[in-house]
Symmetry: C2
Subunit: 141 residues, 2 copies
């Protein structure tokens, strides 16, 4: 079982097979907007992900090349999770989900603020945030 077969080669379907669930993109969100990098930090989200699901999703994301896992030099038990370029490139999707929800769902105004600022910043705001993520997660140049 090196590679599972996909239901179809449709781009939408392939994306959904990768992150089409209720948790995966929340982990990415926490890495992008909350600066979370450690297992226990992800566990502490508002949505209360369970540790077994988190463990499963992190392993999947690492296996898919969306996230990398490295040891923390300061603590041998500590793992640091970082976004890859493939992961950082999920930001436009997340930004669109945010935009849609802010139009049609009962969002918390406080939590919606960052998305509103991003929309107000125009197309350059997303690119700027991606550049910042590259700096933090892919190492400075």
């Amino acid at each position: 079982m090196t590679q599972t077969a996909f239901r179809s080669g449709c781009p939408i379907n392939l994306g959904l097979e990768m992150f089409g669930d209720k948790w995966t993109l929340l982990i990415i969100r926490d890495m992008m907007f909350a600066g979370k990098r450690h297992f226990r930090e992800f566990l502490a989200s508002d949505e209360a992900i369970s540790s077994n699901i988190l463990s499963d999703r992190l392993a999947m994301l690492v296996g898919a090349g969306i996230v990398t896992r490295a040891g923390d030099p300061s603590h041998k038990l500590k793992a640091i999770y970082s976004l890859t370029e493939k992961g950082i490139d999920l930001l436009p999707i997340i930004a669109q989900i945010s935009r849609w929800s802010r139009s049609y769902m009962p969002v918390d105004p406080v939590l919606a603020a960052t998305g509103e600022a991003r929309d107000k910043g125009g197309p350059g705001a997303i690119e700027a945030q991606m550049a910042e993520l590259r700096r933090v997660h892919l190492g400075e140049g």
Copy 2:
């Protein structure tokens, strides 16, 4: 059980609670790109959704105001599903998922063509497609 409680008021989370699964956006995709409007048409997708899941998702989408259901004048048993503005506004999300998958997943070139054309058409291409969906699904002007 009129309204389930949400896990959090975060825009990303609320979006995922609505369509964060492996099937919902595929139904929307079929309405947007394949012109499907009938139950049996959705059943015939490449990904082979089962009828009970399809039934569940269509009811959810109607309940959420993303899709409407109407009887077909030509056939009393026939139901026509239409996108609402709320549903049509999912197109930018789907377009971004398509873009990401075409960059990082083994997409079928034939199925990727429409997404590539849309990207090549620039920002106006999405708006044009949304306008066309409004014409077909929300009634002509």
